[in-house]
Symmetry: D2
Subunit: 341 residues, 4 copies
């Protein structure tokens, strides 16, 4: 951590800061500049100690120099983490993995219809909401365990792995009994009790970015899972809050290459939640993969106009087919080329 002293800081103020640094057990080195002095604090985590200095006089700013996340960082682990789910390998140089299915599981029939369809087009994982966190208490909240049983049945019939959201720690054990991947939604991305419990389950965790989470905070959320000894974390960009009203959220694809720099964890993209408009899903899905995403999670519904939730952002079957076709060509074009190419 670096402590920047203000322009007029006195020698006494500088000494008082150094004394405090030593008091908390760290060591300090000082650079006396023309306009202001800086004190480099060595050892200890800036985030723990930072506040210990904030009331001392003559300080202009305290700047951490280490990232606060550890296990999620590239420095902790240089090689890409590859998460194995069913037949899918997510991460590294593996081709992007498609996860698809309805926003909510509405009944077995529509689920199976969708599952067979997306599988036929190369999807490896079936998504489907059983517990839905809804902004209004008066909206449809999902079928709960009945939906989980349908997902398990769909897995049985199609061989697809299954991902579904868990919204509260008490449900982790239940959901984990049925699914291959526990999804943590954007509204729970700083629900630390839930993150820890999901971590303890040992299941792979699909961690959506909080709609107002910085990339640093998102990686810290992953850290809650990782610190339970669970290495199977898949990050998922799903749109952030901005001033733009034309889309429900602003899908932030910049996060994809940036996360790949900062972390070894796989990162996928959710263009359905991220845009909230089905007509944007296909172009933004392609863009996500071009940006380097390790996979996609897409809402697909046999009859979107009759969906019980979020039909406006679901692809119908013809649109999903078009997406799959274009995605295939894109993936091939961007695959690492042979040396002679």
């Amino acid at each position: 951590m670096i402590i920047v002293m203000s322009h007029g800081a006195t020698r006494e103020q500088i000494d008082a800061v150094i004394a405090r640094v030593r008091e908390v057990g760290l060591s300090a080195e000082t650079i006396i500049g023309e306009e202001r002095s800086i004190i480099g604090v060595i050892g200890g985590s800036a985030y723990e100690y930072r506040e210990a200095f904030s009331h001392l006089e003559g300080i202009q700013e305290i700047t951490p120099i280490s990232k606060p996340f550890k296990r999620a960082s590239r420095e902790f682990r240089r090689e890409d983490t590859i998460v194995e789910v069913g037949t899918a390998l997510i991460g590294g140089d593996n081709p992007p993995v498609m996860m698809a299915g309805p926003c909510s599981v509405e009944n077995l029939e529509m689920l199976l219809e969708t599952a067979h369809f997306v599988k036929s087009l190369g999807a490896k994982i079936l998504r489907g909401g059983a517990f839905k966190p809804r902004t209004s208490p008066y909206s449809f909240q999902g079928l709960g365990e009945a939906a989980l049983q349908m997902l398990a049945e769909a897995r049985e019939q199609t061989g697809l792995a299954v991902v579904s959201e868990v919204v509260t720690p008490a449900d982790v054990e239940l959901v984990a009994r049925y699914v291959d991947v526990l999804q943590i939604g954007t509204r729970n991305s700083q629900n630390f009790a839930l993150l820890s419990e999901a971590g303890r389950s040992g299941k792979a965790v699909l961690l959506k970015r909080g709609m107002s989470a910085t990339i640093e905070e998102w990686l810290l959320a992953a850290e809650y899972v990782l610190s339970q000894g669970n290495r199977n974390v898949i990050l998922c960009e799903r749109g952030i809050r901005t001033f733009e009203p034309a889309t429900r959220f602003t899908l932030d694809l910049n996060a994809v290459p940036l996360v790949r720099e900062l972390s070894h964890l796989p990162v996928i993209v959710d263009p359905s939640q991220g845009t909230g408009r089905w007509s944007l899903v296909r172009p933004m899905a392609l863009a996500g993969v071009a940006a380097g995403a390790h996979g996609l999670i897409v809402e697909v519904h046999p009859r979107p106009g009759q969906a019980m939730s979020d039909g406006g952002q679901s692809l119908g079957f013809p649109e999903f087919e078009r997406l799959s076709r274009e995605l295939g060509r894109l993936t091939e074009a961007l695959a690492p080329q042979p040396a002679a190419g």
Copy 2:
């Protein structure tokens, strides 16, 4: 709900929309405009049915006209709700209520020292964190039940009521045993299981605004508590995420008069969390009350430089004393004036 048809919508498309409106059991009236037609849908909640139409052809936009919150709205209840906590009356024309205390309860001594001090300056409620939701798993997470016991002891000695945060549904019963007001923090403002459980506890609930929650979403979060039959909800503006890096959050005081228009619930302000800088706490606390807040919640620490969390935004005793003094004058100046005045 209003369905706006696009410019080139055909008569067939308009008829198809009307047919679908009737199919879901609602009724429709149409206005044929010069450039585009609109269909007014009568009955039913726009939020439930909106998606049923989003894939029909020729639709430009679907606009809800009712607010999605009910019990929280002024239309549901015209008179201000007044929440009674200990000796405090929060809401309506009552003078603003001061809640103050340390960010985290660190030990009994500092808690009592703070409690006696803030009480002597007119505070009615003692705040103190027992369970701390921290962005990093490696930060201090609070003393848990031990802290709750200290809060109870401080209440015993001072007569102050007590507010403390609860972070997960499983803890609601425990925290409710010790405190007068359950606080739901910004990171849990859409933790619907927690909101419902807090609602069921019957305790007053202090509901912080989510850092990326619109005012509508915040009132919908309140709706989760209210819909459990619990009317004692206190809203708390605590800063939102914006592009401005100079403050930790942007305390959005516009929310205060706006919430007072839209809702009957009391609304208070947290200038400590909202700015993250102690030097801004006093002016923004005064501004909050001038904007119409029913109370304040302020972090106070006997020795902020030694706080175990958020010392940088805590007031020391002299600053809190100055705030109390100025607040007294401000409150008097803004009090409803006698007719002859």
Copy 3:
């Protein structure tokens, strides 16, 4: 425009609104709903008249139903506009056009070196700043007309067309004398005097999105150019302001497919300005094209570490070569497929 009356609006209030609608020369139709009534106002522009109603009693909300932009809209012109610049065709189904060059023109030698290099890799337009709008008055502000002369020389030698920014109306004539495309930067995206002047010049205009402009406002900015009779507008997404500090701006690729829905104008992407980090430029450039962009504008510098401005976001030659290669494959993969394919 639709006027939504509030829940408790009286018959008198409704009649007063209708009377006012007629007073300003428009006609009204009313739908009496269960909870609230709505008044459809027919004729006239909502944006002109909206304010005439805002102080009437009993009104909850006034919602425009027509978009405020006209000439920029798909409704005004169904076919894609194709802007011709030098040998480049920008828009429609034409392959994406590459514009590349240094942030600032620093001297003739580096400009020519860059121009020959990017031309050899397929770029059609040379970019280079002559007048630089800088946040600080103490930063390098560009070489002015001398830089424009160098750009003209580079065009002469390479056959590339040239784009450069103009920052104030008084300079439009000067800049237009040297360049093929006038660039309006993000900080001037609501400098309406400049937009109009650029429109009058008859030159093609590259209109960057304001960093806090909604898509609607951006199209309205285009409208200032179009309304001068100048149809050659190229829109350019270049990143918006959000809470995320890890990138300089948040490049909003959602804007690309959305603008293509709403408008007939071509839209390109600036991944250099949009991310502010050279390591993100290549993936976000590819993503932009996958999202449907009609072109890219990329900062390239022979020796980015010595650039006089924005070196941190400039690609060096080897990175630009890699981008060009990958872009070629991507473009081919996404090209419209022959029917038998």
Copy 4:
């Protein structure tokens, strides 16, 4: 400026950075930490040289430690600047100055009616738009010079000073001929040619914050005026762009005490533009003054429902009277107290 080396940076990389620092004429000191090393760069402006290092290997981050604004900073001038306009003293401990008047000057009669009214309630400066920067080219753009003449006439009759917006450098001389204060609007807050020209006019400049300007960028905009030798700059907070749709902008009152810390310049608040809803203007005006604003600028119209622009945010006469009355009591309550008080 501080250069933070990345975790795995080699000795060679550190040496290369130091060599480059010296090459550009600065000096360097190094602190070798446990996890990473930092290099303090002494002399020169970080903002000028920062980019010179961004492409060197092994660098994690470059952090400026000096603020980029100079003449606007408290370090440059410790005492509050007080701007004198007509009979008003704006800044320091002077009581808040009220500027009021219509959004647009519509005709002489309504202007005089408003001017006499606001003057009778203590306003010192009359506002009124002559040149209106409008988002749409089809909206009313103001009466231009005719409006300026009416403002001059109103000054003549009432003794009020006059403030009006200038939107392009070519108009500065014209507007300056008629008004006491040149207003630079939010959309021109980074129109550097305009800022410089306004600076050269010698008139006082009311500088609105850009709707997406950080506080640092706002002070840098002021720097453009100050660097022309013009010290009479009044900053004006007028709302920023956030995700909240319920208000037109989010008036950011945190900026008031923060600007007072960072700068010696006076800062006022515009609650009309900042909220866009007349019902929020009074509470937010009071809040602004409680936060420490040196003045207010408020839109007042004799018949807001008939205003030609922004009627929805204008106060009618009775609301302005109530505001004035409450403001008087508030100002008195917050005035510095006599020692014996």
